[in-house]
């Protein structure tokens, strides 16, 4: 595995922020799930978020493309603030790619149709062009020969790579990953991480909820640690893993490192 890679090789993020979250709070009914979140993500920056189960990691990234609604504070994606305006939300969703833990491919459509659906209906791309783009990205995730199959006929790792390609077809500026490898059998984790690493090399802005330390060390500029709805600690990956500050972080790291 080519995960070890020095930080100097990483493309350095530019200063202007593509995502800006300011004093954001979210509740599920009475349950205060996100508390005072402040986060700036630069263009081409790559962030890995970790933390114990239930700490609000998924909820945070789901707020970024409005799969969840925040109640206080601001979320600004590529200069557009997310609020009740449905047009803004749809526009943002098309700019922000999302990869889910359970792939969520459309089982009634072929792999190719899964990929062309968004471009054709949201971007109004002509079908032929959408198909060419789709094939290009399928090549990139090394699964082009399966384009006529249905998702149910593929392995978990293959499905997740298709899901990544599906997001890429929308030409997103940011990609969000919610534990993309945690539903996979161990032998399939690498093939998905490899795709994500090559995406990182090309300079994609990425926010990844993951506990894959090797991945975090090799591609992340920053690692965020969340606990009980707060961002407790953030640092460069090497500092974060080798020299954690808070007790909660230390405890958590000792748990994931067995």
């Amino acid at each position: 595995m080519n995960l070890k890679q020095s930080n100097s090789e990483k493309i350095s993020p530019s200063d202007d922020a593509i995502i800006e979250i300011i004093e954001m709070h979210k509740w599920f009914d009475d349950f205060h799930v996100l508390r005072d979140i402040n986060l700036r993500v630069g263009r081409q920056e790559r962030i890995v978020i970790c933390g114990p189960s239930g700490s609000g990691k998924s909820t945070l990234i789901r707020c970024i493309n409005r799969l969840e609604e925040h109640q206080r504070g601001q979320i600004i994606v590529d200069g557009v603030e997310l609020n009740k305006d449905i047009k803004n939300i749809e526009k943002t969703r098309a700019e922000v790619g999302m990869v889910f833990q359970h792939f969520n491919l459309f089982p009634h459509l072929t792999i190719l149709e899964n990929l062309t659906l968004g471009p054709i209906w949201v971007r109004k791309t002509p079908k032929k062009e959408a198909e060419e783009t789709a094939m290009y990205f399928l090549e990139k995730v090394h699964i082009a020969e399966q384009y006529l199959k249905y998702p149910g006929q593929l392995s978990g790792g293959q499905q997740q790579r298709v899901a990544i390609a599906r997001s890429l077809c929308m030409r997103p500026n940011v990609m969000l990953f919610d534990e993309p490898t945690s539903a996979l059998d161990p032998e399939m984790v690498k093939e998905v991480l490899d795709v994500m690493i090559s995406l990182a090399r090309e300079g994609m802005t990425m926010i990844v909820v993951s506990h894959e330390m090797g991945f975090a060390r090799s591609v992340a500029h920053r690692v965020l640690f969340m606990d009980a709805g707060k961002i407790v600690e953030q640092n460069t990956p090497d500092e974060f893993f080798d020299n954690p500050q808070s007790d909660r972080t230390k405890l958590f790291l000792s748990q994931i490192l067995h």
Binding site: N65, L67, I86, E90, K91, R93, A94, V96, G97, M98, F100, H102, N104, L105, F106, P107, H108, L117, G118, W121, V122, Y150, G152, R166, S167, M170
Partner: protein, 363 residues
């Protein structure tokens, strides 16, 4: 032997045990295994022996196919003449005798088009236009009044064309309405949701008969003086409203089976609500719903016969009027068997089609 070693080499796979050979073996395992099953088999054979031959004798050997009523009174067998002699009235009701080619043609167009549409590969836009055109032509054939076709009052429509008209329009209109109601019932907007729930529960709480009565008796009371709405149309609307509520509940069941992740994935690539429903959710839900929807549609089809109670001359009513003719009194068994047969054919094709559709869509 080479082949033998190959087989043993491949695996130690064991063939399934041979359970039965030939007819005797089949009978032994399926009909006569154990004293209890043997007893049941013997009883069933005895019952069949007592009922089937007499029925065949009655229905076929001793039966009369073309005769008048008096000849029928003298035979022990079935009098199919009650059907053959009155076939035109049973099928077409009071439609003017020499114009009956028109409803016949309309029905043939309908049946041909239904058969043509069975193949999903032909489901294109052009087929939709063909249907629209065909429905207009069928309406014209029934109603007349244009292109030199003599006009026929809709009060004269009856028999099989009326049954088909009520069902085909009833089912095709009820289906989309049902889908809309189901979506409304799951809507996040409280007003729409409440409205749909009230509608569905109210309609499901009353029998179709009461809706038909209301449409024919109560509804006209609310119309201003001099305004009348065609009786068939009123029955048609009642059937549509009734069936839609049942379709809605089936659709809702299908929608609930679609995982949340599908909605999220669709929203995450930027599809709006309508696109998400149309492209992602409904295609998957409709597939799950095929068997329950077809049951709803089949029972709705049979329920159209309830229009007899508001004196529309559908297939059942025309048959009943033949039977009230003194010449043909007493042959209701034959006539009703014929009607049952017609209904059976239609329902059988519906359920057969749903089975094929299910198989085609299984992925």
């Amino acid at each position: 032997m080479q082949s033998k070693t190959q087989i043993t080499n491949e695996t130690d796979a064991i063939k399934p045990p041979i359970t039965s050979i030939g007819v005797i073996g089949w009978m032994r395992t399926n009909l006569f295994n154990g004293w209890f099953n043997s007893l049941l088999t013997i009883i069933v054979i005895y019952l069949l022996w007592k009922t089937v031959p007499p029925f065949v004798r009655w229905a076929l050997f001793d039966s009369l196919w073309v005769s008048d009523g008096t000849a029928c009174q003298q035979t022990d067998g079935a009098c199919w003449s009650v059907v053959t002699a009155n076939l035109r009235f049973i099928i077409f009701g009071f439609f003017p005798h020499d114009l009956q080619w028109r409803p016949l043609l309309a029905m043939l167009i309908l049946i041909a088009l239904l058969f043509y549409s069975r193949d999903r590969k032909r489901w294109k836009k052009s087929l939709g236009y063909t249907w629209v055109a065909a429905l207009i032509i069928m309406g014209l054939l029934m109603k007349g009044g244009l292109f030199g076709l003599e006009s026929v009052e809709s009060s004269k429509w009856g028999g099989l064309p009326l049954t088909l008209l009520l069902s085909v329009f009833g089912l095709t209109a009820a289906y989309p309405l049902g889908v809309v109601l189901a979506l409304g019932r799951r809507s996040r907007m409280p007003a729409i949701k409440t409205l749909c729930v009230i509608y569905i529960e109210m309609i499901r709480g009353v029998p179709l008969i009461s809706l038909l009565f209301m449409s024919s008796v109560v509804f006209p009371l609310f119309l201003p003086e001099g305004v009348t709405v065609n009786k068939i149309l009123r029955a048609q609307v009642a059937i549509i409203l009734f069936t839609a509520a049942y379709v809605a509940e089936v659709v809702r069941g299908g929608l609930q089976a679609i995982p949340k992740g599908q909605y999220e994935a669709a929203e995450a690539i930027g599809l709006n609500y309508v696109q998400t429903m149309r492209l992602i959710v409904l295609p998957q839900a409709l597939k799950i719903m095929i068997p329950p929807t077809v049951s709803v549609l089949i029972s709705a089809f049979k329920d159209t016969s309830l229009v007899v109670i508001i004196a529309l001359y559908d297939l059942l009513k025309t048959t009943q009027s033949v039977l009230s003719d003194p010449k043909w009194m007493g042959f209701s068994a034959e006539a009703y068997i014929f009607i049952a047969f017609v209904y059976f054919i239609c329902c059988f094709f519906m359920s057969d089609y749903s089975r094929r559709l299910e198989k085609e869509l299984a992925t």
